[in-house]
């Protein structure tokens, strides 16, 4: 999302500047030559078209909805393009230590998969929450309490070792494997 923001920002800046330049050129041109047809954009033709088009016309409504959707997308990009870093405690106040949620997810995934009880696992992580979906084999009673405890215990041990500024919540879901162990 930040890449999109970095790409859009200069393009929109240039677009705004272009609109400003065209506005100045056309106003000055119309001032100097009132009977002119527009230097860059054919605004007299646009003026005539807009004078005959009511707000309830289908093209107007369609364009309005498109403009609103584009605005909503830009707003969403702006809101979602914040950094999602995971803060770690630094040894001194002059130092800030951070890592990405991807790194935290990789660390958790690697730790969980090292267990013999886990056949496969997928992990998603943020600074607030870690979600582990583990696949394994059921207990003798048919449940997955043992697998859940194993995964939760391993993640907890890892989180104890990492100097995280804020300990994330851990959610574990398990799924059985049909193949024999």
């Amino acid at each position: 999302m930040r890449v999109l923001l970095r790409t859009l920002a200069p393009l929109l800046g240039l677009a705004l500047a272009a609109v400003g330049v065209i506005l100045v050129i056309e106003v000055v041109a119309a001032w100097v030559r009132p009977a002119g047809r527009g230097l860059v954009v054919p605004w007299p033709a646009w003026q005539a078209a807009l004078s005959g088009l009511p707000w309830s016309a289908r093209p107007v409504i369609v364009v309005s909805i498109c403009v609103a959707v584009v605005g909503l997308l830009l707003l969403l990009i702006a809101l979602l393009a914040r950094r999602h870093d995971v803060a770690l405690t630094a040894p001194t106040p002059e130092m800030t230590v951070a890592t990405s949620p991807r790194v935290l997810a990789r660390l958790v995934g690697r730790t969980v998969r090292e267990s013999d009880d886990v056949a496969a696992a997928t992990v998603s992580a943020s600074a607030r929450k870690i979600v582990v979906r583990a696949e394994g084999w059921p207990d003798a009673g048919g449940g997955f309490a043992g697998l859940t405890d194993t995964v939760r215990g391993r993640v907890s041990t890892l989180l104890d070792e990492l100097p995280l500024a804020r300990r994330p919540r851990v959610a574990v879901s398990t799924r059985g494997r049909k193949e024999p162990r």
């Binding site: 800046g13 240039l14 272009a18 309830s56 609103a68 959707v69 770690l88 800030t96 951070a98």
Partner: protein, 222 residues
């Protein structure tokens, strides 16, 4: 170029116990990554304006504000007459709006495209000579020292911030067996403290970004 805060003679910046100034603490947080706050604010503002304008126009078209208003043309004769009545004034308003849009747009574009600053450190300056440590040289030295620490696969450093408040951004790829807390402690005590000491800086804010070193698998066939 930076004119760093000099360490008083005889004191050791590595063992400094006084709390760092607030600008130093802010500097380390700001150095984590290049800020995109301005881009986000402008994009949000533009998005909000487009969303509001589009929604209002669509509601107007659907007759929410009255069927009479929905039937009126986009370029309302009432508005056109009002503009023509004060033609001189509105021309100047339009020119001013165009200039403002042009300046704001160009400023936004240039600011977004401008590369991040890498301030050099100016250690000494007199009329004849000046002692300058370039940002690249300092970053390379720090990165080399950081990469040599146990548990660190590779490291990359760069100077960021302004010439008045330089900061160091350090990206460190830790290995599988690394003790992250120990790596951070050694980075501060051995790498950054040494950089401060050798440059005679009282404070140098540091932002460390930890990444996982890519795993190298052993070949399946010998």
């Amino acid at each position: 170029m930076s004119t760093p805060t000099e360490v008083p003679a005889g004191s050791d910046p590595g063992t400094e116990t006084a709390a760092p100034p607030r600008r130093v603490l802010r500097g380390s947080r700001k150095a984590v990554a290049r800020s995109a706050n301005l881009d986000r604010v402008w994009l949000a503002l533009l998005g909000f304006v487009l969303l509001a304008a589009g929604t209002l126009a669509a509601l107007l078209g659907f007759g929410v504000f009255g069927t009479g208003r929905a039937a009126r043309p986009l370029l309302d004769p009432l508005i056109v007459d009002a503009l023509r009545a004060q033609q001189q004034l509105w021309r100047w308003v339009a020119i001013a709006a165009g200039v403002v849009l042009m300046v704001l747009g160009l400023w936004w574009a240039v600011r977004s495209l401008r590369p991040e600053r890498r301030p050099d450190l100016l250690l000494e300056e007199d009329p004849d000579t000046q002692l300058l440590v370039t940002a690249g040289a300092l970053a390379e030295a720090v990165a080399d020292r950081a990469a040599a620490l146990p548990g660190v696969g590779k490291a990359r450093a760069r100077m960021v911030g302004s010439s008045g408040t330089p900061a160091l951004r350090l990206t460190v790829w830790v290995t599988d067996e690394a003790d992250v807390a120990e790596v951070c402690r050694r980075l501060e005590n051995e790498v950054v403290a040494e950089a401060r000491r050798s440059l005679g800086l009282a404070h140098l804010p540091v932002a460390v970004r930890l990444e996982l070193d890519s795993v190298t698998h052993a070949p399946r066939v010998a």
